[in-house]
Amino acid sequence: MSSPIAEIRDLTKDYGTVQALRGVSLSIESGGIVGILGPNGAGKTTLVETIEGLRTPSQGRVSVLGIDPSREPRRLAERLGVQLQATELPPDLTVLETLRLFRAFYEKSLPANEVLAAIDLTEKSNARNRTLSGGQKQRLAIGLALVTDPELIILDEPTTGLDPAARRDLHKIIRSLKERGRTVLLTTHYIEEAEILCDRVVVMREGKVVADGSPFELLQRAQGGSTVWIRVDKELDPVGLFRAGAQPTGREDDYYRFTTEDPAAFVVALGRTLQEGNLTLLDLRMKRPTLEDVYLELVGTRSEDGDGEGS
């Protein structure tokens, strides 16, 4: 548990004059779900494909399960589960036949029906791949990553282009991998996905890591204050609140609205104010910065300035 499952040091990758990665260092411990979050062109796919051994680093060191992916990709492949951003499945094979095909590539592999159960495709086992829906195809693509029961599973944008229900199904499958003690590394450009699914979020921008931590830790980094709405039964004297650093931003219906950098101090001051003025607090609402706010601050813009990364 102590030694990392993947270790990346000062990784750079150039495509001609374009620098896709500009010095990425990352250490991934065993267990849990790590999400790489960033807009298109941030270098997410280049990063995971370098970890998979599909791309050779320009500079820097990569070690995955103690193996250098660019030197011994096939030895690494034996212990690594990969779902590529686009997976082309043989259209005329059935789901079961496709799994059996991939099982034959590995030294050790799980029984096909166990994989089918894990990706919730048992009922579709005899359906031809060409008849599968987008979500089912993606589940099969993840199933192919699971046939060898790998320690590390890398999923490149597993939910992109899926409808919300299919996305939720995939989230369930990915969580179950974590529950079985596997390590999952996934890329996404959905903030909500990173927030609800990942134990750790690595935010990338223009080939660099700009933030790294649990969703909760990233929230702490939020700049800009929380907004607080309070409703009391009589006229409020806000001087105490001002002293605690709150800024009045007007009234909304019966509510006083403030912003504050320090919600804890605000609440303490509010208690005192209520007591001194003999007021009753009827309602209190607070809106803290979301992960999305943090993300937008970090990557500057949410707009997709895609440079054709991946695909």
């Binding site: 051994g53 096939r74 030895r75 492949a77 590529l84 043989p90 005329d92 095909l101 590995y106 192919l144």
Partner: protein, 285 residues
């Protein structure tokens, strides 16, 4: 052992895909039969002996068209659409992958050729002058020579746009100059000399040797040697040119080696090959 398991599984998957695809079934089974019937009635008037005389050319056309347009195209397609890329992140080796294409192609081709033979035998009543086992052996040598060449085209062609250009460039000279489509003895002398550079010529020669002249393996030693050499060199060169992704550049040095080897095949064929007996018009004795 494991490489073998991967090859076997891929070959089986390829077989299932072929059997289930109407287009693939048409090209591998219906088309060769169609070609045979067309040849037999147009050029052979449906007569047993004349059809027998046409069979070597027909088999050769089947071998080269299937080798060049069958696997080479599906290889290029699977590389282009990213199927190979998915295999690349598994422990599957390039040799296991290419072998599966080769094995599938050998199986498909052999069934096409035998099917044509069976129809010629039972429908037209054609007979081979030489023993059937020699005939089947020569077919296998032909398949062994051409399947690697098809794989080679599949490795060199960058995408589905360049692949047909490349295959047609190889296919048409082989079809018309080798004596497969046009009787060899009617070709002018200088064309015959160029035809000696094409491996297809030696397949027609060997097949005619068995079917028409009733020759044994020893008498066919020259053409068979050319076919085997073509196959061995084709396989060797294949390992140099394999690419997982169509975006990967071909190494220029490897491409040069490949071209050099191919030139060598033909040069050898040109110099050591015996006089082709099919260049003499049948006297009708």
């Amino acid at each position: 052992m494991r490489a073998f398991r991967g090859t076997r599984a891929l070959t089986w998957a390829g077989f299932l895909s072929t059997v289930r695809s109407k287009a693939a079934l048409f090209w591998t089974m219906a088309f060769p039969i169609f070609l045979l019937i067309l040849f037999a009635y147009i050029f052979g008037a449906g007569e047993a002996e004349r059809v027998a005389y046409l069979m070597p050319g027909l088999w050769t056309i089947t071998v080269i068209s299937s080798s060049f347009f069958g696997i080479s195209m599906s290889m290029v397609q699977e590389r282009e659409n990213g199927t190979f890329r998915r295999y690349r992140v598994s422990p599957l080796s390039p040799i296991a992958l290419v072998s599966s294409f080769g094995l599938l192609q050998v199986g498909i081709l052999l069934s096409s050729l035998l099917l044509q033979g069976v129809i010629a035998w039972f429908w037209f009543g054609s007979r081979s002058a030489g023993p059937i086992w020699v005939l089947i052996l020569v077919m296998l040598f032909g398949i062994f020579a051409f399947v690697p060449l098809g794989l080679l085209v599949g490795s060199i062609a960058r995408d589905m746009k360049t692949a047909p250009v490349l295959t047609n460039l190889l296919f048409f000279p082989m079809m018309f100059l080798s004596g497969a489509a046009v009787p060899f003895f009617v070709l002018p002398d200088f064309i015959q000399r160029i035809a000696k550079l094409l491996p297809a010529t030696y397949l027609v020669e060997a097949l005619q040797g068995v079917v028409v002249r009733g020759e044994g393996l020893l008498q066919l030693g020259g053409p068979i040697a050319v076919l085997l050499t073509t196959g061995v060199l084709g396989l060797a060169v294949n390992s140099l040119l394999f690419r997982w992704e169509s975006t990967q550049p071909l190494k220029k040095s490897n491409l040069l080696i490949a071209l050099g080897v191919l030139t060598a095949i033909y040069a050898v064929a040109f110099f050591i090959a015996p006089d082709l007996r099919m260049s003499i018009a049948p006297s009708g004795d």
